[in-house]
């Protein structure tokens, strides 16, 4: 008689372990999967952290100063100091300015007419023009607001010089949570969500479909392995991989981009569980529908697209049309992003996160139940 309690023996001799062992050997040997697991987090992080800057600054700007007075030079200095515009040289006439915009060497052109200095000195309203390349609305928006703010700032200075008058209104804006407004701070938490979605849906689905394609799934069903051990042995490795990826991204986000984790780290890992279960549900569901690995990949990408566009990962959900917002409500990532950003950037506690957590749990239970049922049917 063995003196270990029966549940210990049951756990030790569970058929889940050989599945786990085999799965990790396969992950290690499959270069494509390994690449996706190791390279993808780094690539995503560097790509979205460095390359994609949603804050538009340093627009090359040419200046046509026909006034050539101290007044006109003061205006140019004020505008360039805002950081939105960078000097890209002086031009002699409007045609040259326009050509610079056409060629794309400049995004904006500032035109100061000859009478500018005189008008300002006489106390009349002086007119200046800013030509903006509005092909890219985001750039244009930054240029337009930059120009307006710069002009207002200069106007206030001029008035203050003329009459010693206290500024009647002073709006002080204080950006919270991400004071420097760096896009990396906004994007990095999202990268965690997107990576987990890829690992838990795409990689999991293809791993299961591969077993069916090669006939090993049928072989397994004939063995005494049991549905639960089979499924858990297939899913748990990717949960572990997901948590490792998350840890890597959190560390790299801190090291390279100083993305903080203001809130509770254990709570972050804990609240990730419902998201993992929901995503595995989707992966399992895809595996029951797809007939080949290629199909599983296509379906996964089809699922990824709304996740990236509609979840609030890159674009704010508030400004989306209603149908897009409704679709976003069905995506687990939408809620997980709120949890990620809340915990990492704002230090929100569970008391303020129960809403997205609750929605996520409901989605997770729903998706996982449906897909496990379907999965069990397909292996019978």
């Amino acid at each position: 008689m063995s003196d270990t309690p029966p549940f210990v023996d049951r756990l030790r001799y569970s058929r889940f372990w050989p599945m786990l062992w085999k799965e990790f050997i396969q992950i290690r040997r499959d270069r494509l999967t390994l690449g996706m697991i190791l390279v993808l987090p780094a690539a995503q992080l560097l790509l979205f952290g460095y390359a994609i800057q949603t804050d538009v600054r340093h627009l090359p700007t040419v200046v046509l100063d026909e006034s050539r007075t101290s007044e006109s030079r003061a205006l140019v200095t004020t505008l360039m100091n805002s950081g939105v515009f960078d000097p890209a040289g002086e031009v002699a006439d409007r045609a040259t300015a326009r050509r610079a915009l056409d060629a794309g060497t400049a995004n904006a052109a500032l035109v100061i007419p000859p009478e500018y200095g005189r008008e300002v000195a006489a106390g009349r309203t002086a007119t200046v023009q800013m030509l903006v390349d509005a092909a890219d609305p985001q750039t244009a928006g930054a240029a337009i607001s930059g120009a307006q703010l710069g002009a207002q700032a200069r106007a206030t200075q001029i008035i203050a010089e003329r009459v010693s008058l206290a500024n009647p209104l002073d709006m002080r804006v204080r950006p919270l949570y991400n004071p420097a407004q760096r896009s990396a701070v906004f994007i990095v938490p999202g990268v965690i969500g997107v990576l987990l979605t890829i690992t838990l849906t795409l990689i999991t689905a293809t791993a299961i479909v591969r077993e069916r394609e090669r006939g090993t799934l049928e072989q397994l069903i004939v063995t005494p392995i049991g549905k639960t051990s089979l499924m858990l042995g297939k899913l748990v490795p990717f949960v572990i991989v997901g948590y490792v990826q998350m840890t890597v991204v959190l560390t790299m986000g801190w090291v390279f981009f100083r993305v903080p984790i203001v809130g509770s780290l254990p709570l972050l890992y804990l609240l990730t569980i419902p998201f993992i279960i929901a995503s595995l549900g989707v992966g399992l569901l895809i595996s029951t529908v797809a007939r080949s690995q290629a199909q599983a990949m296509q379906l996964s990408f089809f699922f990824m697209l709304p996740n990236i566009l509609l979840s609030g990962y890159l674009f704010p959900r508030m400004s989306m049309p209603l149908p897009a917002q409704v679709v976003g409500l069905a995506l687990p990532l939408t809620y997980y992003l709120k949890i990620l950003r809340g915990l990492m950037l704002k230090g929100t506690g569970f008391a303020d996160l129960w809403r997205p957590t609750g929605s996520l749990v409901v989605l997770a239970v729903l998706l996982f139940t449906i897909s496990v049922r379907r999965f069990h049917k397909t292996i019978e």
């Binding site: 001799y13 058929r15 372990w17 050989p18 599945m19 062992w21 085999k22 050997i25 396969q26 040997r29 499959d30 090669r214 006939g215 090993t216 049928e218 072989q219 397994l220 069903i221 004939v222 063995t223 005494p224 392995i225 019978e380």
Partner: protein, 252 residues
Amino acid sequence: MTAPATQGPTVVTEGLRKVFGSLVAVERLDLTINRGEVFGLLGPNGSGKTTTIRMLCGLMAPTEGRATVVGFDVEREAEGVRTRIGYMSQRYGLYDDLTAYENMRFYATVYGLHGRARDERLEQHIAEMGLGERRNQLAGTLSGGWKQRLALGCATAHEPEMLFLDEPTAGVDPAARRDFWASIYALAARGTTILVTTHYMDEAERCQRLAFLSRGKLIGLGTVDEITTQFGQPTIEDVFIALQRKDEGAHA
């Protein structure tokens, strides 16, 4: 080898029937396969061989009738059946990205072998199967004959009482087939019951008893001699061809 669950026949089917929609795949099959027997299931494509094997392995539920394998009901006691049988399909069920040894170790553990007992059993089994020189090669890079031998090794490391072979030698060269059959006879000599489906007539003639299926119905049962006599043909191959013609005639 572990003691058999029962002393009676290894496989008993009573009125076993499987229907897919309007198609009757297997029609009220009554079969008895004895312990240690090498039993062949023959028939043209679509005659119900694979469906029969799948029902006996618990991969598919019968529409009607019942079957016991090694003393366990295939529907109600599937767990008991699964731990005591081995199954090798035409597709072999090997993991290409695992080595020969890792494949065997994986299946042996899934069948409930653990620790030192498993490792010792695997060493012995690898030696018996002659897999030693390929043990660290990835299964995906093995030739057809080696894959087949490995698949048989994976299906028998846990010393099953009953072994199901579904067209095991499809696409394998004659020398490998001869080796394969030598292993089959060695297993049978130690008391393993073997059910094999095949297209090859020389293989059919190696079976101790044969069951002929035609469009889901059992139409002939017995030794090679009994069957050739029953159908009035000189060889099993002639019986097969005659049956296939009759089938095709009935379809046309």
